[in-house]
Amino acid sequence: MLEKAFFIPFYPLLAFLVIVFFTRWKEKLSSGISIAMVLLGFLHSLAVLIAMLGRDGRPLELAYTFIDHPSIKLELGMWIDGLTAVMLMVVTIVSSCVQIYSLGYMKDDPRWSRYYSYLSLFTFSMLGLVIANNFFMIFIFWELVGLTSYLLIGFWFEKKSASDAGKKAFITTRIGDLGFIVGLMILVAYAGTLNYQEVFAKVTSGAIPANIIALAGVFVFCGAVGKSAQFPLHVWLPDAMEGPTPVSALIHAATMVAAGVYLVARAMTLFAGSASAAMVIAVIGMITSFIAATIALTQNDIKRVLAYSTCSQLGYMIMALGLYGVDLAHDPHTHSVGYYAGTFHLMTHAFFKALLFLGAGSVIHAVHTNDINDMGGLSKKMKITTTTFFIASLSIAGIFPLSGFWSKDEIIAATVHHPFFMTVTLLIAFMTAFYMFRLCFMTFTGEPRDKHRFEHAHESPKSMTGPLIALAFLSVFAGWVGLPWLKHGFSWFVYHGEHQVHHPNYILMVVSTVVALSGIGLAYLVYYKKAISADAIAERFKPLYKLSFNKWYFDEIYDAVIIKPVLGFTRVLWWFDANIIDGAVNGSGWLTVKWSDLKMWFDKYIIDGAVNGLGYICQAGSWALKFIQSGSVQFYALFMLGSAVGFVIYRVTPDGFYYYLAGVVILALARLLSRISRTNRLKTEPDIEG
């Protein structure tokens, strides 16, 4: 089964093709095929995982040639190691859950078949991305997930906001991909290959200059910035919540946005090749994490809170990976846990964040609103949803012994050598706990704030609650594979360089638990007990509150914000930051359109004008034509002889040409004068016609 792992992406692709070409009109069949195929993929992934466990994560590579040229050989292939195996599992599990969940959620949608075909296509792309053995292939699937994301965000394309969001997502991520391409070009130019292992070999052997590695690393990381919604390209993710909620769960929480993290982990050798590049990554991750967490504190849209939370958590992972890279760059035998922490959190986060989104979807399904101010007390009507949601929240907050605790703990552990990072990390952990429970309490406890909606609320059907339960189970237990006491735990299986043996750090565990509990406690006081007035706090810290509530004004005055200069980022990227960051669509898209209007004008009048200039010459020529072709035969004779005389002068005298010119001018003047005198004379002369 392991050698045939490259089949895994093709199951959903098959589903996609079958749906598009054959079963488009049979909705139930379409969804059935799609789910069956993804489950098949899941089983195969499981087999692969087991096989890999059997090999202790020793990698396997298979490839076939895509294009072969002397300067570059591009191939499509698969690279299976522990990380791949885990990611395959994550993707197939979440995808299966979401697809089953969607049976209920999308029940009355007229474009049911299409929805499932998109989901299948997405799953295919994501699996391809995960399984890729080279940068070229990962880029291909990178773009494909972008496409499906676009299609799914804009699935309800009649809504302008939805189609706008799709476009914004696509273009914003593409800006990141731009850097990605440049990074790949640098790699091709200096390494001559895009195969992971070959590139890494060149990086470690020092065949590529260090500054080039840094440059390549930063550019490749741009791709991750876009896709994983990292600062400063994070603006698309909240908007992407316009898509159907299961889609948000699948793409914008569990899988696609994780692709950036996956890329950073996958290409760790490259990033670690340069400490500065790795530091850029860590800083970007931290900034994103912090900003997103602060924004999440005050948002009222349930999905947006989750979206910002996702941003924040992704930033966490990237920060951890970046710090690992920094440590590795300084010390090749580092004991930093960053790599393990980042990938581990990637997995656990996928489960509980998917669960949170699906839970939110369940709520939205029940009350038909996204605004938590219109909710409240739903725990009475939606037992399963409430329970699972709370489990997930506890997990993300990092409460022992849920899976989130283990992974988050490792992330904090990864920052031990970087005190500043550690401080921020703990702060974020606190905020995470707070806003998650703010959300929980506002939604599920207390009195219903909108009676009418509350009346109609009901628990979701089994097709929806089933996946919730399954994911809740994973949210609790998935983290146990990384228990620090396991000798051959997650860190043994998923590793960078060499197998890592991990030692538990009990102090950190306690600290993180305390931080998380205090966050929950604060939320409890404010939103459950109402011991502290939320409004009062908001009033007290009004500027901060407004800042958070308005998402740091990113969307509104993006170009006015002074973004901290980031090491390694080029001026080109700066320019993009300031102008086109909000997509060439909304904000500064205006500028582009205006500019292209200007270019249109240029095109029309200047360049075309040069062509039409011939017409003007002809106009001038026609004056000369009237002048010479006067109809008077004697003038013709005069002109003939005059020209002949001119030619003789021209040839005989040394400065003939000037004489000739002078002669022409004199001739012209004389002719003009005579025309004037003629008109005068004609007035005085009697007509002699008989």
Partner: protein
């Protein structure tokens, strides 16, 4: 006094055509001036016979080296005969409707003029060259004014006459100076004498330049070469259309061969670098450039097809002169080929204009609107002519331009060639305009031109010539190249 034994065989075609022309006039008188078609057919038949005779008898020099029957002259004589053939072929409508009394004279004068051209083509001596030129021109003065009640025609006749006689005098003045410089009227001898003169004195002086310029001016008139071109649009517009065609092809070809005889054969020594100051090439090159620019730019504005074609032929002569200034074997060959194709394309165009004018009484280009629907074959033919004149392959005009410009490049006149090509692009504008009017414009007045048999014949010959000799130009080019060897380079 005894008569030297001249080789009379080689003037048989001319003599025959002269006799035939006179017979046509007599035939008209004899049949009471009633027959139209039989006269035309007789004349065309006579032209064919002349052509056959020409092919049988050519080759040789006689009459005290005055009369050369070489390949070049044969090529041009074929062009003259063809032009006359098509001019007469397209005159049937005019002969029937507009000319009541002098049909025989009309045809006879065309034939006389053709005889003159043929003499001219063979003249290798100044006196016979001059007389040939006059025999070409004088009948054309009369033909231009042949519609005696039509003011335009009479005006055309007057203008043609005044400018023609004037330039004839200028030409004579130049020829007299040339005679004075060399003491001979034989072109080949002239060349030798000039070289001797130059060798013995080291210089010749400005007298030669005066002579050269005067001769260029005199023959430039026949060619309608800028700046001696201004009569052309008026005369072309006013004359009966077949005569216009005949003027623009036959008379022009005659001028070209005279030009090439005098300059390329007689004064070629002065094209080489030792005697650069006396070089006539630069003057002709400047005039060629002027012709291309002036003709093309002026043609754009014309709405009368005859006038447009007049300016276009001014431009065409500019292209031809590019071959002339090259003064090389390829140059002469390219001129021959160019004129040969020009015969079909331009005569075809004028013939088409004639038929249209006969039918509608108008020469306005705008009246051609929608012809592609009502008379598709006619429109297709005219389009072929236009595209050929514009030099678009696979029409013959392309190969012709290619050759001419190749000669120009070979001789180092790259600037002239680029200018010429640029102007060829400009020319496309007005040529395509005719096509556009016929094909693109909605057809408002649907009428069938109902072409007569002769009209179809003329158009068919022209179209077939343009296409066949465009796709497979080899025989003509080969012949033209052979003919160019007659000149010693």
């Amino acid at each position: 006094m005894e008569m030297p034994a001249y080789n009379l065989r080689i003037i048989i075609p001319e003599v025959f055509l002269f006799i035939w022309a006179t017979l046509v006039i007599l035939l008209d008188l004899g049949t009471g001036r009633k027959n139209t078609k039989s006269l035309g057919w007789t004349a065309m038949f006579g032209l064919l016979i002349t052509g056959v005779l020409l092919c049988v008898t050519w080759g040789g020099i006689t009459f005290n080296n005055m009369y050369t029957s070489d390949a070049l002259s044969v090529l041009f004589k074929v062009i003259f005969l063809g032009a006359a053939f098509m001019a007469i072929g397209s005159s049937f409508g005019i002969l029937t409707d507009k000319i009541k009394n002098h049909r025989g004279e009309y045809i006879g004068l065309i034939l006389y003029s053709t005889v003159g051209m043929m003499f001219l083509a063979s003249s290798s001596e100044l006196i016979s060259l001059y007389i040939g030129l006059e025999l070409t021109t004088i009948p054309l003065f009369i033909l231009a004014a042949f519609f005696k009640d039509d003011r335009l025609s009479v005006e055309a006749g007057l203008k043609y006459f005044v400018v023609g006689a004037f330039s004839s005098a200028i030409l004579l003045y130049g020829l007299s100076l040339l005679y004075g410089l060399t003491g001979t009227t034989d072109i080949v001898q002239m060349k030798i004498n000039l070289s001797l003169l130059f060798l013995s004195y080291g210089k010749i002086g400005p007298g030669l330049i005066l002579a050269i310029v005067m001769i260029i001016a005199g023959i430039g008139f026949k060619l309608a070469l800028v700046p001696f071109h201004m009569w052309a649009p008026d005369v072309y517009q006013g004359s009966p259309t077949p005569i216009t065609g005949f003027l623009s092809v036959g008379s022009k070809a005659a001028g070209i061969i005279a030009f090439s005889r005098i300059f390329v054969n007689g004064l070629i020594a002065f094209a080489d670098s030792v005697m650069k100051p006396l070089d006539w090439g630069i003057i002709v090159a400047v005039m060629a450039a002027a012709a291309m620019i002036w003709g093309n730019l002026a043609a754009i504005r014309q709405d009368n097809i005859k006038r447009m074609l007049a300016f276009s032929s001014i431009a065409q002569i500019g292209y031809i002169m590019v071959g002339m200034v090259s003064a090389s074997e390829l140059g002469i060959a390219s001129i021959g080929y160019y004129m040969f194709l020009y015969l079909f394309a331009n005569m075809g165009a004028f013939a088409a204009a004639t038929f249209f004018g006969d039918r509608t009484g108008s020469d306005k280009i705008t009246r051609y609107a929608g012809l592609s629907q009502s008379s598709p074959a006619f429109a297709a033919c005219l389009s072929v002519f236009m595209l050929s004149l514009a030099g678009i392959p696979p029409m013959g005009g392309f190969a012709a331009k290619y050759l001419v410009f190749a000669a120009g490049i070979q001789a180092g006149y790259t600037w002239l060639v680029i200018l010429g090509l640029l102007m060829a692009v400009v020319s496309l504008y007005y040529y395509a305009n005719v096509v556009k009017v016929m094909y693109f414009a909605p057809s408002e007045s649907i009428f069938d031109l109902k072409l007569s048999f002769t009209a179809r014949l003329v158009l068919a010959i022209a179209v077939v010539g343009v296409i066949i000799f465009g796709v497979y130009p080899e025989p003509i080019i080969k012949f033209a190249l052979d003919s160019a060897t007659a000149f010693a380079f």
